[in-house]
Every structure is written in structure tokens, then in C-alpha cells.
Amino acid sequence: MIPVRQVEGRAFPLGRKNVDTDMIIAAEHLKTVSRHGLGRFAFQALRADPGNVFDDPAYAGAPILIAGDNFGCGSSREHAVWALADMGIKAVIAPGFSDIFSSNAFKNGLVTVVLGQAEVDRLLAWAAKHEIRIDLEIMTVLCHGEAFAFDLDPFRRECLMEGRDEIALTLLHVDAIEAYERRIGV
């Protein structure tokens, strides 16, 4: 995995809460056997609306998405993360994420940043004019001269910053796995 230490650039000010993974990538696009090429199908229903943020030239190529609470709820489909990554998004800022989505995001090096609703609201307002910088080193979101601290699980932060292959890390524990299997007799 490619190490991520910071994400900097414009942000799509989506704002909406309860963005489910069906909304990020509809089921009809899950019939792929690849991780790539899903970006053009991301947020398809929302993009049917002429005023949508994703087709606003002001945000073209933005690496950050700002959303409301419970982002990524619903289906476990990792295709949602692959679609976001494929459209160039490297980080999502929201007041809360579903457990499965945040895990999927982490496995793909997509940063999920949890901030309070008030801070998210301010970023949404600034996003029209200002760039945002997410710094994993100091766990801070910087925008318009302000800094918002966020929390990140230390293990996840290290894996993101070092670009670790989690399976290879786990296989370092193979003796413990074998010992467990012997102990419980499976």
C-alpha cells in the first residue's frame, strides 16, 4: 500500500448525512472482478442532479470529501471505497462513519477523519473557497487559518503512514495462530 502522510487540496462539500454505500456505488456496478475503474460510477444517482458538487468545476479533482454523520452506512461493499479512490478521493471528513466502511477505507489507505458536526459545518462553508490540509503526523485538519485536531487509532495511523501490508504483518503471528488452533482443536 502507498504510504499516506498528508492529504491536501480542495474538498467536495457534500454535507449530506447517512450516505449509504448503495449511494456511493449502486449494486449494478458490483459485478466486477477488479478493484479498478469504478470511479465513473460513483454517486451516480446524485450526479443526475445538475447542481451536484461532483460535477462542479470548482471541485474537479478534489482529493477530499466532506460529508454528514454515518457516512458509508449499509452494505459492506468495499467497492464503495474503491470507487472513491478511483475518483481520486484520498480522505473523507465526517462526524461519524459506519464501522465496516471505516475498516474498508483503512485497508485501502483512504483516510477517514472524524470531526465534530460544528467543525464539519465550518469546513463545508470554507470548502467553496479554500483548500484543506489533513496532516496525519500531527493529526490535525488545517483550513482557512484554523486547525482542528482529530483522533486516529495508533495502529491504523502507523499502517497508513508506513503503507503496511496487513496480511504480511499478521503472518508474523503464524506461530500464535497455529498454537491457538492446537489449543482449541480446530
Partner: protein
């Protein structure tokens, strides 16, 4: 560690392979269910890294999401092709992957095939006290049998295939306690919709739910499967029921369940899987079963729930601006006006099926409403999709298929069907479906489709009247 522990904590502690100083555990996975949609990239990852499936014997694959629910073999027993090339490719990829990696497989044409969350319990693959995962969020369903079961993404599918473990931090615990008897015409589905309405679509995030109280103790295993299945719609990755005599009776003799002395030994262990007196939950919610009516969703989130005798809520009455805006958007999508009686909402489609409500008790409940009645002329399509080939055969032996067919329903082959618009069963744009599935998200049943989540009996009632209907008025 020696203090009183929750059921969740007991199962967790029994599966810890290694523990990091920050509390992250390497957790052993006892059971892994695999289907065709979330696994191809995981097998590809193994192949690229030159890795094997560590424990194929603890893995079971079955296709369900993509499969058409029309007949799969012709009169000569020849397999019929899947028309959609992308679906056919995904099914072929699963077949090639299970062959290459030696994973046990229930083929699309086998009678035991079905929705992965129906097949697991039915085969006795799902057992109390096990950790069970699947690349599907409705894996929570298996918690009905006392398994710590949760949905995972494809990277985690690959991780489990390669290592039979996952890195996890313990969740918080949420007690949902319900006491008393559910009223006439009120089912497990109505109860879980009420619970989701109470705690909200994100209320269980970061938590594992334990369902406790007399209502759940009295509930059948199939009812518990419906409840546990929708834990994820409240944000909880898992929902647990303590295993009891009903659980053991349900599992005994299932093809993959333990046998003989091994069975006795396992039951003795399973009996210890109760939350200890004095164990604390991080949160608790209580409901009274007698307050629950048949429920129906009005919006595009599973927590948009009202009783069937209620009206469409008025967004302008919601104080919080973000929620008000979300309700306006939902009503606009759903084509509903505030204040409209739910029972005045007419529907064009009926779907009885999905991993939430496609088991034999669900089909019996729906058939009991349909018997001697006809599907309303305003209904364009009414589907009954059994959860597995074994459910289908059981229903046919009971004559339920004829009840549905005579009323005007289509009787289909098992699969995920109209729950998620991945196979040919879809609801057209702006048309409305009374559905026994689990998600009313915008576009879930097809682009622009409008979904009202209901119980099987309520879906049957809507089928015969052509509108959302209080089933208690139809059946005495």
C-alpha cells in the same frame, strides 16, 4: 478479566490469538462464508501474493446475489445460461476460485443453495459461540444462534482467507431489552423496525447489540434471525442472542452440526454463553412488546419508521435543520406528502424474500394472509423468493407454493432477488414496493425505486389490497 462478563466478551475472550498493548486483538475466525460479489478481488489478492487459503475446511462458498431467480436447469437437467454477462463472469470467477483454492462449495444448481445467511444456519455451519464472518453486512443475522457474526469488506475477506484471523478492537455493548408478548399480527420484523426507529440508523455504531428479555426468549429461531439480521440497520456490526434450548433443538441433526459425544460437549459449552449477572452494558434500550404495532418505513433510511396506523411525518415539524432537510429529500424521493395516512399509500410491487424474511415461517405467515385471496389488480409484480432450495422444498411440501401461485404471485428460485437490484429482479423508477427486505435506501431495489419495509404478513396484506394495509384488519 474475572469479573462478570457479557456474552459478547466471553466469545471474544475465547478467540484471542494475540493482544497488542493498545487493546487491538488478533481474533480467530471459526467460520467464513463466501459469495460471488465480495470475493473475486480477495482471491485475486491471494493469487498475486502467492498465498493459499489457510483453512478451506472452515470456509463455505455459495452464490446468491447475482443469480436470476428464474429456473436454472431445463427439463433435461441441463443448466440454463445466465443472460447478464457480468453476472455470469462473477459466478464463473467464484467457481474457478473455489476449485483452485479447494473451498467447499454449494453450486447454484444444488438444492442446498440459497442466500448465504439462510444457508449457514440451515446447514449447521453457524454454531453458538463461534466467530463467523462474511463479506456481507447482513452477516449479523447469524448472531441469532449465539455466534459473534459480522460483515467484512473484501480486504478483510482476503485477510481471513490467508490467515483465518482479523485485527479488531473490542466493540462497546448495547443491551436491547424487550419484555412481554407481541400482539396479534405483530412479528419479529415489526419489532426490529421499532428498535431501529428508536435507536436510529447510527445509534448502534461501534457497538454489538445483545437482545435480551422475555420477548426474545419466547421468539422462534427464525424470528431471532430476522431481528439479528437487521442489527446493522441500526449501525451495529453484530447482534447477539444467548443460545438456549431452542437454539440447540434448531441445530441438532443439521448436516454440518457436531454429532454424538462432540455434540454433547459443545452443548455443555454453549450453555455457559450467557451474560453474567452484574455485567455492565455501555448502553441500554428498553421497549415494551405490547406497544409495538405492525410497522412500515416511509423514507429512505431504515429508521424512518412509523406504525401502519400512523401518517407520513411532517418534515416541517422536525426541529433539527439537517434532519428536516433529510426528511424533505426522503419524501420527495418517495413521492409522499406529509400527513398522508400510510394505509392510503398504494403499491405496485410486492417482494417476499431476502436474508431477513425468506424462511419457512415467513412464507407460512404470508401464505396465511394470502390463502383464498387474490393479488390486487393494481399490483404489477408480486414475487415470493424462498431463501434456499430447502426452504422452497419445505414450502412446496406444505402446499404454500400453490397458495401463492393461485393468488397471482410468482414462485421463484432462491437468491437475493429484489432486495438489492443486482440480478434481473428490480423495481422500476418511481414505482413502489412493499418489501420484506432490509434496506429502503434510495435506489436499493433499482434506480428510482421506492421501498417500504414491512413484515411478510404485511407484504401479503399489501398484495391483496394493493396498498399498505394493517394486516390485523384482514386476518382475525
Amino acid at each position: 478479566m474475572n469479573g462478570p462478563r457479557s456474552l459478547y466478551r466471553k466469545i471474544w475472550d475465547d478467540h484471542v490469538v494475540a493482544r497488542a498493548p493498545d487493546g487491538t486483538c488478533l481474533l480467530y475466525v471459526d467460520r467464513h462464508l463466501v459469495h460471488e460479489v465480495t470475493s473475486p478481488q480477495a482471491f485475486e489478492g491471494l493469487r498475486l501474493a502467492g498465498r493459499k487459503v489457510r483453512r478451506p475446511d472452515l470456509t463455505l462458498a455459495v452464490p446468491d446475489h447475482n443469480l436470476p431467480t428464474t429456473r436454472r436447469v431445463d427439463d433435461h437437467g441441463t443448466r440454463l445460461p445466465i443472460i447478464d454477462p457480468a453476472s455470469a463472469t462473477q459466478l464463473a470467477a467464484l467457481e474457478a476460485n473455489v476449485a483452485e483454492f479447494g473451498v467447499p462449495y454449494i453450486a447454484d444448481t444444488a438444492e442446498a443453495q440459497g442466500i448465504v445467511h439462510v444457508v449457514g444456519p440451515e446447514q449447521g455451519f453457524t454454531l453458538p459461540g463461534t466467530t463467523l464472518v462474511c463479506g456481507d453486512s447482513h452477516t449479523a443475522a447469524h448472531g441469532a444462534l449465539g455466534a459473534l457474526a459480522f460483515g467484512i469488506g473484501t480486504s478483510e475477506v482476503e485477510h481471513v482467507l490467508a490467515t483465518q484471523t482479523l485485527h479488531l478492537k473490542p466493540s462497546k455493548t448495547l443491551e436491547v431489552r424487550v419484555e412481554g408478548s407481541l400482539g396479534f399480527g405483530v412479528s419479529a420484523k415489526d419489532l426490529i423496525l421499532a428498535i431501529i426507529g428508536r435507536i436510529g440508523a447510527a445509534g448502534g455504531t461501534g457497538h454489538v447489540i445483545e437482545y435480551r428479555g422475555s420477548t426474545f426468549a419466547d421468539m422462534s429461531i427464525e424470528g431471532r434471525l430476522t431481528v439479528a439480521n437487521m442489527s446493522i440497520e441500526a449501525g451495529a456490526r453484530s447482534g447477539l442472542f444467548a443460545p438456549d434450548n431452542k437454539t440447540f433443538a434448531y441445530l441438532k441433526g443439521r448436516p454440518m452440526a457436531p454429532k454424538g459425544a462432540d455434540w454433547d460437549r459443545q452443548v455443555a459449552y454453549w450453555r455457559t454463553l450467557l451474560t453474567d449477572d452484574g455485567a455492565l452494558f455501555d448502553k441500554s434500550v428498553r421497549l415494551d412488546a405490547q406497544d409495538i404495532a405492525p410497522n412500515v418505513t416511509w423514507g429512505t433510511s431504515p429508521d424512518d419508521v412509523v406504525s401502519i396506523v400512523d401518517r407520513v411525518p411532517d418534515p416541517e415539524a422536525i426541529a433539527d435543520p439537517a434532519r428536516r432537510e433529510a426528511a424533505r429529500t426522503a419524501l420527495d424521493y418517495m413521492g409522499l406528502a406529509a400527513g398522508m395516512a400510510m394505509q392510503d399509500v398504494s403499491v405496485e410491487h410486492i417482494f417476499i424474500g431476502s436474508c431477513t424474511n425468506s424462511r419457512i415461517e415467513d412464507l407460512r405467515a404470508a401464505a396465511s394472509v394470502v390463502r383464498g385471496r387474490k393479488v390486487d389488480a393494481g399490483i404489477k409484480q408480486a414475487l415470493v423468493v424462498p431463501g434456499s432450495g430447502l426452504v422452497k422444498r419445505q414450502a412446496e411440501e406444505e402446499g404454500l407454493d400453490q397458495v401463492f401461485i393461485e393468488a397471482g404471485f410468482e414462485w421463484r428460485e432462491p437468491g437475493c432477488s429484489m432486495c438489492l437490484a443486482m440480478n434481473p429482479d428490480k423495481v422500476p423508477p418511481r414505482e413502489r414496493c412493499a418489501s420484506t427486505s432490509n434496506r429502503n435506501f434510495a435506489g436499493r431495489q433499482g434506480p428510482g425505486a421506492r421501498t417500504h419495509l414491512v413484515s411478510p404478513a404485511m407484504a401479503a396484506a399489501a398484495a391483496v389490497t394493493g396498498r399498505l394495509t394493517d394486516v390485523r384488519e384482514l386476518v382475525q
